[in-house]
Symmetry: C2
Subunit: 312 residues, 2 copies
């Protein structure tokens, strides 16, 4: 049995314009890292939170990284405790799945203490416990891709039913994170509880077109489908400069551009690496035009999910 | 140039449980046939309506088969008229796309009078003119599969964007038509204009799972996804015995069972031909238990769209 295990879980983009609460994809250039140390003392203790976020709850029942661990230790009746170090690579409240990544990394690391016997769906269940603490709601659009990698459909959580959606290899993602924080709960509150059927129908058509485009490798079908008629109109006003940023992305050849998760980060899909830099620069310039500082990443779309990076 | 052209267009199942107004598939065992005779007298005249329905509007501007023809003749400035015979194989108000099939057959036949130069999307546009007369609304979930065959996604009508969705070869459809007429407009009125976002998210998950199952050839994913949470609860009360019929289908191994279009016909997808007969018999027995007579068909799912059957 290891004494110490470190796991990494990637940042993710949830919703993906057409799949509110069900679609998400992993990024390859940013994420959270969690290290677990086996301790003689029972229970879960957070000893360090470092990186781009440090102001997080320290109680094991409150932190997204540890809530699942507490349940995990209880379920397996393990005769030891865990000391937890969290390295946050994902900005807080960025819409990049930070709480999900910490939760996933923790359980992926914990799995090494039981000989890796957890099924992937079991890891997902434990990680969802942590995510629910953060967002006040349980859905898999960030946890699932952070664990599985690539573009995922979380068809159902009870029972867990996850589908990996193929994406044409050359397509990549530009993600721009403006220095403007949105609380996930607030971002949920701006969405009406009821929405017009006619909007649902159009959004369904785009979801169906988008998925078909992914399966068929049809970039133009993806381009024609990758737009959010349902949620984006309600959340866009929360993000200063959003409409200009989106327009900048599309004018520079992006296949689509929408809000990453609950925002304020904005993602664009682009046909290839060559387009990605122009789109990134145009999006950042548009944010700057709205007096908003930003950071940006370019990522492939078929990148791996969470994994153990060190064990000893 | 031909003197007389006959075309057949198949009956269709619209909505397909998870794709309200956007998904539809063609049946191979039933449809409408339209014969066009070139006449010296200009204009469009209906000379005969026969088959399972005869009580249809006779005015060229009112009948779904001829509305598109009138526009077609005007657009091409053709120096002749058309006399139209309609052979209805599809019961009226059955939810099997009868108005769409007549409209499609008419335009497919008309295309032969201009040397077949119409694009498929142009045929679709003309046929939609007829469909709009019948349903008071324009959507492509019946017209598209009647023209293209197989399972189709009508992602957009402006511009026309149609995607052919593959279906595993062995899957087939059972369609049961109860002797109980529903008016399409009434079936639309029972659906609320606004629906809960939470229901839409679940329905989207099923739509995405269903399409993924079709592309991946994953029968169990299709089974888990093929259920309508959005529309069926509102329309089911219009169909006597529906819940028993659906339960009978599922108990006998159907992958899913829902309302065909606006109803009252009910369709089921089954894994293979061997299951189809048992499911059909169970569904008909359930209708009989609700004192409703019914007819039934078993059809493959990858069957052809409309075509010319005679030209002379």
């Amino acid at each position: 049995m290891p004494q110490k295990v470190t796991a990494f879980a990637p940042a993710t983009v949830g919703n993906v314009a057409v799949g509110f609460d069900i679609l998400g994809f992993a990024l390859d250039t940013i994420g959270d890292t969690v290290t677990l140390h086996r301790t003689e003392q029972r229970g879960v203790e957070i000893s360090d939170i470092r990186g781009v976020v440090t102001d997080l709850p320290r109680g094991a029942d409150e932190n997204t990284a540890t809530v699942g661990l507490v349940q995990f230790l209880a379920d397996f009746g393990l005769p030891f405790g865990l000391r937890v170090e969290i390295d946050k690579g994902i900005p807080l409240g960025s819409g990049m799945g930070g709480s999900a990544a910490s939760a996933v990394a923790a359980i992926v690391a914990a799995n090494a203490f039981v000989g890796g016997k957890l099924l992937r769906t079991e890891i997902l269940s434990y990680a969802l416990l942590g995510e629910s603490v953060a967002s006040g709601d349980v859905h898999g659009d960030n946890v699932t891709p952070s664990l599985y990698g690539g573009l995922t459909l979380t068809r159902s959580l009870e029972p867990i039913d996850v589908v990996q959606i193929p994406v044409p290899d050359e397509i990549c993602c530009v993600l721009v994170h403006p220095e403007h924080r949105i609380d996930t709960r607030n971002a949920r509150q701006v969405i009406p509880k009821d929405l017009p059927l006619s909007t649902f129908v159009q959004q369904s058509a785009n979801l169906a077109g988008f998925l078909s485009g992914c399966f068929m490798g049809d970039t133009e079908l993806i381009r024609n489908s990758l737009q959010d008629l349902l949620i984006e109109p309600h959340r866009a006003p929360l993000i200063p400069g959003f409409s200009q940023v989106r327009q900048a992305a599309l004018s520079n050849g992006a296949l689509g551009c929408s809000i990453s998760g609950a925002g304020p980060s904005v993602f664009a899909w682009v046909k290839n690496q060559a387009d990605a830099e122009a789109v990134r620069d145009a999006m950042r310039a548009a944010f700057a035009g709205a007096s908003v500082e930003s950071s940006a990443w370019i990522s492939s779309l078929n990148c791996p999910g969470a994994s153990i990076v060190e064990e000893g």
